[in-house]
């Protein structure tokens, strides 16, 4: 008998247990900061209030420019006033899925401080681990955020003039949210992976966040952009982080284009998964080559 027996290979059951531990730890870690949590979620709706008033004033002026009383017939970029408010509320949901605070900068700091070595030694896959902890953080967030979200949507139900979308559109909406989450994750993780080559990615990240804020549709519906700009922005994957799910829900994507659009989104997702994996393996090779 040898002194050190080999550990048994990790089976599916064992793996599931590891995953559940990662998810549970993430959950309780999040919930521990209770004050931040509840307050933060409600606060997030405050800018929506100003948005509503701002757009209300803009639509008033549009009506008055046309010499008409304000009603729902005035449209800006295909959106009337209730649509516009509904749009901003829906982008809140989309952002709740696709935003990844601290992901890229976290990877960058792990690379910089050499903590990344841990993943080379331990039998854990970095990307898998990050994805699981992110899922648990998001789950914890939804647990606490569902109530305030439901409350706000209930208050604002009047803005959803078209009512609830038909089932297949709603399924597409859910699909776009999930893919939005994954695109957000792999896109930011890829940016984080750049830190294997460039030590200071935080600047890059900030630029990315600025552009993403503007071009994802977080600030305004992308249909408001002048034709020439809009055609370029529509080719970028950023719209899946905010604009696209909201537009799907509000039926702003023509029925016959919906399936194609979803396929294009899936293609972008595949691209970012591959890019992220590829950069990680290249980065690790480069890192161990240095002897870090």
């Amino acid at each position: 008998m040898s002194l050190a027996s080999h550990l048994p290979p990790i089976g599916i059951g064992q793996r599931l247990r590891i995953w559940s531990i990662i998810v549970r730890t993430g959950l309780s870690e999040r919930i521990a900061y209770r004050g931040d949590f509840a307050l933060g979620t409600l606060m997030r709706f405050l800018p929506i209030i100003t948005q509503i008033f701002l757009w209300g004033a803009i639509f008033n002026a549009v009506a008055s420019d046309a010499g008409a009383e304000r009603d729902d017939s005035q449209r800006i970029g295909g959106f009337n006033f209730p649509d516009m408010v509904a749009y901003f509320l829906l982008t809140m949901i989309a952002r709740a899925f696709s935003s990844m605070p601290g992901l890229a900068s976290g990877i960058a700091s792990q690379v910089r401080q050499g903590e990344i070595k841990k993943y080379l030694i331990q039998p854990i896959d970095l990307i898998g681990f990050l994805l699981l902890s992110r899922i648990s953080h998001k789950l914890a967030y939804y647990v606490v955020a569902t109530l305030p979200f439901a409350f706000v949507f209930f208050l604002c139900r009047g803005f959803f003039v078209a009512g609830f979308p038909p089932p297949h559109v709603f399924v597409a909406f859910l699909g776009s949210l999930l893919m939005g989450f994954l695109i957000g994750f792999f896109l930011e993780a890829s940016i984080g992976m750049i830190s294997f080559w460039l030590l200071e990615v935080n600047s890059l990240l900030l630029i990315f966040m600025l552009f993403s804020f503007f071009l994802s549709g977080h600030m305004f519906p992308l249909t408001l952009l002048p034709e020439s700009v809009a055609s370029v922005v529509n080719l970028l994957p950023l719209k899946y982080l905010a604009y696209f799910p909201a537009a799907v829900f509000l039926n702003k994507i023509p029925e016959d284009e919906l399936a194609t659009e979803m396929l294009i989104e899936a293609a972008w997702l595949t691209f970012f998964i591959v890019a992220c994996r590829f950069m990680y393996s290249r980065g690790i090779r480069r890192y161990s080559g240095f002897g870090g």
Binding site: R24, S28, I31, A32, R34, F37
Partner: protein
């Protein structure tokens, strides 16, 4: 009149008890448990001008809290204290211009800037006239041999060099009272020695009053004539270093060296056998019994050499801390 006069000083904190696990965390959203922690339970202390006093005590004994109370950084729960006639936590500018606090575990110099820039800031804050500032800075950098390092960003300095810089920052306004909290923590022996040497010299020359907390007995032995032991938030001992042994240790350590291969087996009847390293044996013997036991031993065995010592101070103090906590 005593320069530092502390009476029945107390400080307690309310601490939120964090809970383990997910469900407990969820419950914590709605309800919190607090516990009162008494860091200082009633300290009495009088220090005369020009004394160099050491605060000893286990972790969490209340040493640092006491220093912070005396610096006015935190407010007490009860009791009174005056330093140079000021109540510290009123934080009067006249008081704050006349003392300094150095903490070995925290730094106040700007991390990314050369130390001299922080010093200039101190000069402005404390209102030190330019010529006097320059003279003091020259003297201190000379004494601590850091003149060449003034222009280097603090983050590039070694721990020992940083501590010297922190000391200079604290002494630029020539404080009359100096509080030192673990000034040599984490330093190597040489750096510790340098800091001690400087402190001793500076204190002797300037006759300032210093209160020092430290984990290193060497700091204390080298610097302070008076030792105050704090444990459990109370003063347990106040007196000379040597007095600690007289008060808290009833034992002496007798080392016997036996002549040629003699290895008696009944030595534990003399006292507590501490260490056997033939032909040398160390035995702990109650103080009063030492003359009698020694006489018997010399009569009964063939002894080549004898020495009688006090137990090491570290051990006595460790025992004492252990008893209190």
């Amino acid at each position: 009149m005593a320069i530092i006069d502390v009476q029945e000083l107390t400080k307690s904190y309310r601490v939120y008890r964090k809970r383990e696990g997910l469900m407990e965390g969820v419950r914590g959203l709605f309800h919190r448990d607090y516990t009162e922690v008494e860091a200082v339970r009633g300290i009495n202390l009088r220090v005369e001008a020009g004394e160099f006093v050491a605060f000893l005590g286990p972790n969490g004994a209340g040493k640092t809290t006491t220093l912070k109370l005396l610096s006015g950084v935190i407010n007490p729960t009860g009791g009174t204290a005056t330093v140079m006639g000021f109540v510290p936590w009123q934080r009067q500018n006249e008081y704050r211009r006349r003392f300094a606090l150095v903490m070995g575990q925290k730094n106040q110099l700007w991390w990314d800037l050369p130390a001299q820039e922080s010093y200039r800031l101190h000069q402005q804050i404390y209102g030190v006239p330019a010529d006097r500032f320059q003279k003091t800075l020259d003297e201190l950098t000379d004494l601590l041999e850091v003149k060449d390092l003034l222009g280097q960003p603090v983050r590039e300095l070694s721990l020992g060099e940083r501590m010297k810089m922190e000391l200079i920052a604290a002494l630029l306004h020539s404080p009359e009272v100096l509080f030192l909290d673990e000034p040599t923590i984490g330093l190597d022996v040489i750096a510790q020695h340098n800091i001690q040497r400087f402190l001793r010299f500076y204190q002797e020359q300037r006759k300032i009053t210093i209160l020092l907390t430290s984990h290193y007995m060497k700091d204390v032995a080298a610097l302070c004539k008076r030792v105050v032991i704090v444990a459990g938030g109370l003063v347990q001992y106040d007196g000379s270093l040597a007095g600690i042994i007289d008060k808290f240790s009833g034992k002496k350590i007798v080392t016997l060296q036996f002549a040629d291969g003699d290895r008696p087996a009944d030595l534990d009847r003399l006292g507590t056998l501490l260490d056997t390293h033939w032909p040398k044996v160390k035995i702990g013997i109650t103080r009063a019994d030492v003359p009698r036991v020694l006489a018997e031993t010399l009569r009964d065995y063939a002894i080549e050499d004898v020495s009688v010592e006090d137990p090491p101070l570290e051990d006595v103090i460790a025992d004492l801390f252990h008893q209190v906590s």
